[in-house]
Symmetry: C2
Subunit: 564 residues, 2 copies
C-alpha cells in the first residue's frame, strides 16, 4: 500500500473545522495516474532550474456536450481530495525512474520525494454549477513542475464527472420534475468506477436513486431494486413455494395459504366481464415468481411483467398478487416494463389498473406505479412524451452512464501565465486558441433575475459593478460585443485550496447539497438556453482590455511568414 | 478496510501452482458493486428455500460493436480475481440490511456472511479470443442466489473491457501493422479506472504503449511521453537556460554552450538555399523549450511542433536542435504533430527532413519519426491512408478509450437452466430471446484453416467431429441452415473456476500472452469478416436438436392469447 499523507488542520491547507480531507474515492487515483510526459517535463524543468517558477493554468472546456448550451461542473471534490493527499511514494519513484532514461540525475528523484501541494492554489467554480465554454472551471497556480503533474488527474476527474452530471440533468429536463428517475447503469458503465462515478454524478444531476449498492454506501444515495427476468424464469410452478403463510399488514391475522389466495384472485380477474378477453391462461412460472416475491417483500411488491407477455400474462399475474396482498392490508407498489412499446403498454396497463379498481373496489389501484426501462435516453423520453404515456418512473442505464450520445467532454488545462508573464497557445483552429492571463470571471445577471453572460477580466482590472455599464466582447470575434448593465454580479472562482496564500478555504459540501445547488442553478437559467432543440447560446465574453491584450499577444507570438 | 479472503492452494479453487489469486485490480470491486435487486432476489430465493438450487447462466452479447462483425473477449481475469476473493464483509452486510425492508429475517444475513464462490463453476472462452454474438463468453453454474450476485460485476468487468479491446484492434487494423500505436486517453477516459482499463485493454488489442504511468506500473505496459504545449509556451527565450553544457554521446567531449550550437544550426537552416523561403523567423520561446528539452533528454529528443506554427517555426526549430544533437553524436527521435492537416503536414515535414539530410549530409535524417495525434479515430486513420501521409506513429486518446463510436457493449447474463430444467426468456424482439439449456460451444474450421462458424449444442449431445458432416442451424430462423464438414474442431469454453467439480483450472496468462493470443486470433480470421465496411457476418449456429428444443420450449412458455 502507498503511504498515506493527510492534510491536517495545522498545515496551511488544513480544513478550518479541523477535519482531515480524505483521499480520492478510488484508491487508484495516485500521483502515477498521469501521463508520463508530466514527469519528463518535470525533469526538464528541474534540469533547467525552472521547476519552481510560478505558473497559472486554466482548466476549461471548449464546447457544451450533447448539442446543448450548458454544462454542469462536477468532480471538484475529488480533485481537492487528490491534492490534499498528494505525495509520491517510494515505490512510485522507483517506477518513474524505470520509465525515464538512465541519464536522468538522482537529484530529481530527491525533489520528487519532497513534492506536495502545500504551495499550490486552486480556485474553482462551485461544484454543481451551470458552466459554459472557455470560462475556467479551475484556475491552478503553483510551481510549474507540480501543477503539470496535476493536469491529467484533474482533467480525468472532471471530464467524465461533468459530462455525466450534464447528461443526467438533460434526462431530468426531458422527463419532467414529477417523474422518478432511477440510475440503472452499473453493468453497462465503462468499468467499475465508471459505474460508481455515474451513480454519484447522476444523483447530483437530478436522479432520485441508483441500483448500485456500492455507490449507495459510499455516497448515501438512495438505492432501489426489485427483481430480474432470471428471477421470473427460475420458477416453474407455485408448487415450489414451501412457506405459503403471510401475516396481514396489521399483524392481526395470518393467511395460511397465500398461494391459493393469489390463485383465487387470478380466477376472479379471469372471470371478470370488464377484464375479460384480454388474456387467456397466464404463465404459471411467472405467477409463482410474483407470489414468491410478494411473500418475501409484502410491503415492497414491484413486479417485472415482460418476461413472457406483458398484457396476456405479466399484468394479470401482477394484479392477482397485488389484490391478494391488498386483501391482507398491503399496498402493492407497481410494475416494471422492460421491452416493447412502452407508451402503449403503459397506457394499457393503466386502463387495466383502473378497471381492477372499479371492478373490485380497490381505492387508488388505478394509480399503481408504472416504471419503464429498456435502453431509454433523451430521445426516447421525448418520444414517449409526444406519444402520451402513463409511466411514473424511469430506470435508465446504458445511454445515461456511458454518455452514449457523446462519450467525452474535451476539458483542457492550459498555461495562461508564468512568472507573471501571460502566455497564449495559438492554433490554426481559432476555437483552440487559449485565453491568456491570470483572470477573474463574473456572471452578470439581468433585471429578470436570469444570468445574462459570463465575463473574464484581467486579475487587476476593476470588477463589474451592479448598475454600471460594462462592455463585454467576444474573445476572438471583432464584431461581437455588447454593453451590459448588470443587476447582480457574482464572482465565479472561489478558493478551494489556498496554498500559502492565507485565504479562507471553501468547504466541500455534501453530495446532497451539490445536488440542490445543481437543481437551483438549472432553475435559474433563461429557458431558451435550456431547450433540447436549437437552444440559444449563452454568451461568454472578455473585457475590452483583455480583448486587446489577447490580440496583441497573438500577433506577437505568431511567426511572420514570407509569401512565396 | 474490508476483510480480505484469498483462495489458497489448499482449497478446491486453489491455484495449481500454489499461488494466491489476487483481488481485482480496482479495490472498489467488492460484492456491493452490484445492483440492489441481486440482493432482493437473493432474499426472495432464501425465503422460498430456493437459494441453493443449481442454476446455469450464460453471459453473452447480442451484436458486434462498431458496425463490425467481430468482438474481442476481455475482462475474464478480473472476474476470476473477483470470485476468488468473494466474501461479504460485516460492514457491507450492515449496509445491505439498511437497504432491505426491516421485515427481512436475520437468518438471511447469517447466510450472506457465509457466502463465497467455492461451489460456483465458471467456464469461459479464453481472454483475448475473437468472439461472436449469442455464443456464451462465460457459463456460470452454482447456487442461484450466489450466481445472481455475480451478474452485475461480471457484466461490468467484461462489457467495457471487451468493447475497448475490440476498438483497439479495429484501430490497429486500419493503421496497419507497421505503425506504432500509442494510447493517450487517460485524461478523457470515463473516470480513473476507465483510463487504467483502457490502457490495459488497448495494449491487449494491439497498441504498443500507453502514456498512463499507473497502468504501466500495474500491468507492465511500455510507457511513453515527451512534452506538451504548456512546456513550449512556458519558455520566453533561451536566456532562461542556465545550464548550457552537454557532453557528447560518446562522452569524449563537452559542448559548453549547446544553446549557441543550436542557434548556429538554425542560422545554417535559414541561410540554406534548398530550405529557404519556407520560413522567416521562428518562435524563440519554442526554440528555447526544444533546446531545454534536448539538454534534459539528449537521447530521447522528440518535440511537439505545433504550438505556434508547424512549418514556419516548429519544424525548423526541431531541425536546429536535432542537428546540434547530431553534431554531438546523438540521434533525435522525431516530432509530434497535434493539430491541422496531418496528412499534408507529415508529407511536408518528411520533405523537409530529406532536404536537411541532403543539405547537411546527415544519414537517415529523412527517416526521422513523425508521430501524429489530435482526435484520431478509425475514420481519420482511414482518411489519412487515402490521402497519403508520412506518419510513423499515432497517439490516440478520446475516441479510442471512450469508444466514442459506440460507448457500450450490451452484454447480458441469462438464466438457461435451473435444477436441470432448461429455461428461456421470451421477448417480442426475437433477437432478445435467450438460447436455453446448459450448452457446449465449438468453433469449426474449414479446409483453408479459417474458422467457418461457431455451433452451440446441448450438454449431452455428441460433439462435432473432424471430417464428419454436421447440420448447423440458425437459432431462430427456420430457413437458415448449412451442412459443415469441419477440418478442425475447437471447444470454446474452458474451466477457469472449477468449484467442487474437481476439474483442472485453466491458468490466467499474463497480459503479454493475452495480447499475443489476440493478435493470433485476429490473424486467423477470414479477411472478409474483418473489413471495415460491409464485412461478412460470421455464422453462429445451433445443432438441429437444440434448434428443435428451443422452439418447443418457446411454444410451451408463450401464453396463448385469444384474438378478439
Amino acid at each position: 500500500m502507498r503511504d498515506e499523507v493527510k492534510a491536517t488542520a495545522n498545515g496551511p491547507n488544513g480544513d478550518l473545522s479541523g477535519r482531515v480531507i480524505d483521499g480520492p474515492t478510488n484508491p487508484m487515483v495516485t500521483p502515477l495516474l498521469t501521463d508520463l510526459y508530466q514527469f519528463t517535463m518535470a525533469y526538464a524543468y528541474w534540469k533547467a532550474g525552472k521547476h519552481q517558477e510560478r505558473a497559472v493554468f486554466d482548466l476549461y472546456f471548449r464546447k457544451n456536450p450533447f448539442g446543448g448550451e450548458y454544462t454542469i461542473f462536477a468532480g471538484l471534490e475529488e480533485c481537492i481530495r487528490f491534492i490534499a493527499n498528494f505525495k509520491i511514494a517510494e515505490e512510485e519513484i522507483s517506477f518513474i525512474k524505470q520509465c525515464l532514461p538512465p541519464s536522468c540525475e538522482d537529484g530529481f528523484y530527491d525533489y520528487l520525494r519532497e513534492v506536495n501541494c502545500s504551495d499550490v492554489e486552486v480556485y474553482a467554480i462551485p461544484e454543481g454549477s451551470v458552466v459554459f465554454p472557455k470560462v475556467p472551471l479551475l484556475r491552478v497556480e503553483g510551481p510549474i513542475a507540480v501543477v503539470q503533474l496535476l493536469e491529467t488527474p484533474f482533467v480525468n476527474l472532471i471530464n467524465y464527472a461533468s459530462l455525466v452530471t450534464t447528461n443526467a440533468a438533460r434526462h431530468r429536463f426531458v422527463a419532467g420534475r414529477s417523474k422518478v428517475l432511477l440510475e440503472f447503469g452499473l453493468r453497462r458503465a465503462q468499468g467499475p468506477d465508471g459505474g460508481i462515478g455515474a451513480s454519484k454524478y447522476c444523483y447530483m444531476g437530478g436522479f432520485d436513486a441508483t441500483s448500485n449498492v456500492a455507490a449507495g454506501k459510499l455516497f448515501g444515495i438512495p438505492v432501489r431494486g426489485t427483481h430480474s427476468h432470471a428471477f421470473v424464469s427460475s420458477y416453474m410452478s407455485v408448487d415450489e413455494i414451501a412457506e405459503k403463510s403471510l401475516r396481514s399488514s396489521d399483524g392481526s391475522t395470518t393467511c395460511e395459504d397465500f398461494v391459493s389466495l393469489v390463485q383465487s384472485w387470478l380466477g376472479k380477474i379471469q372471470r371478470s366481464k370488464s377484464l375479460h378477453g384480454i388474456f387467456g391462461e397466464t404463465n404459471l412460472s411467472e405467477l409463482a415468481a410474483f407470489t414468491s416475491y410478494a411473500l418475501a417483500f409484502p410491503t415492497n411488491f414491484l413486479a417485472l411483467v415482460d418476461t413472457y407477455d406483458v398484457m396476456r400474462s405479466g399484468i394479470p399475474n401482477f394484479c392477482a398478487v397485488a389484490l391478494a396482498l391488498h386483501s391482507l392490508g398491503y399496498k402493492a407498489i407497481g410494475i416494471r416494463l422492460d421491452s416493447g412499446d412502452l407508451a402503449y403498454q403503459s397506457c394499457e396497463a393503466r386502463k387495466f389498473f383502473y378497471s381492477v379498481e372499479n371492478e373490485f373496489g380497490v381505492p387508488d389501484f388505478g394509480k399503481t406505479t408504472i416504471t419503464a426501462s429498456n435502453d431509454l435516453n433523451e430521445e426516447t423520453l421525448d418520444a414517449l412524451n409526444k406519444q402520451g404515456h402513463e409511466v411514473n418512473a424511469y430506470g435508465i442505464g446504458t445511454y445515461l452512464v456511458t454518455c452514449y450520445a457523446q462519450a467525452a467532454l474535451g476539458c483542457v488545462f492550459k498555461l495562461v501565465e508564468i512568472n507573471n508573464q501571460p502566455r497564449i497557445k495559438l492554433s490554426e483552429d481559432v476555437s483552440k486558441v487559449s485565453i491568456p492571463c491570470k483572470k477573474r470571471s463574473y456572471r452578470l445577471y439581468g433585471k429578470e433575475g436570469y444570468p445574462l453572460l459570463d465575463i473574464m477580466i484581467g486579475e487587476y482590472e476593476p470588477p463589474p459593478k451592479v448598475g454600471e455599464r460594462i462592455l463585454c466582447r467576444h474573445p476572438f470575434s471583432e464584431s461581437k460585443r455588447a454593453n451590459v448593465v448588470p443587476q447582480h454580479v457574482e464572482e465565479l472562482l472561489k478558493c478551494y485550496w489556498p496554498g500559502l496564500s492565507g485565504k479562507r478555504r471553501e468547504e466541500l459540501p455534501p453530495l446532497k447539497a451539490l445536488r440542490e445547488r445543481c437543481m437551483e442553478q438549472l432553475g435559474q437559467m433563461r429557458p431558451d438556453h435550456m431547450r433540447r432543440l436549437n437552444p440559444t447560446p449563452y454568451k461568454v465574453s472578455v473585457s475590452a482590455k483583455l480583448y486587446d491584450f489577447i490580440h496583441f499577444l497573438w500577433l506577437n507570438e505568431a511567426p511572420v511568414g514570407e509569401l512565396e
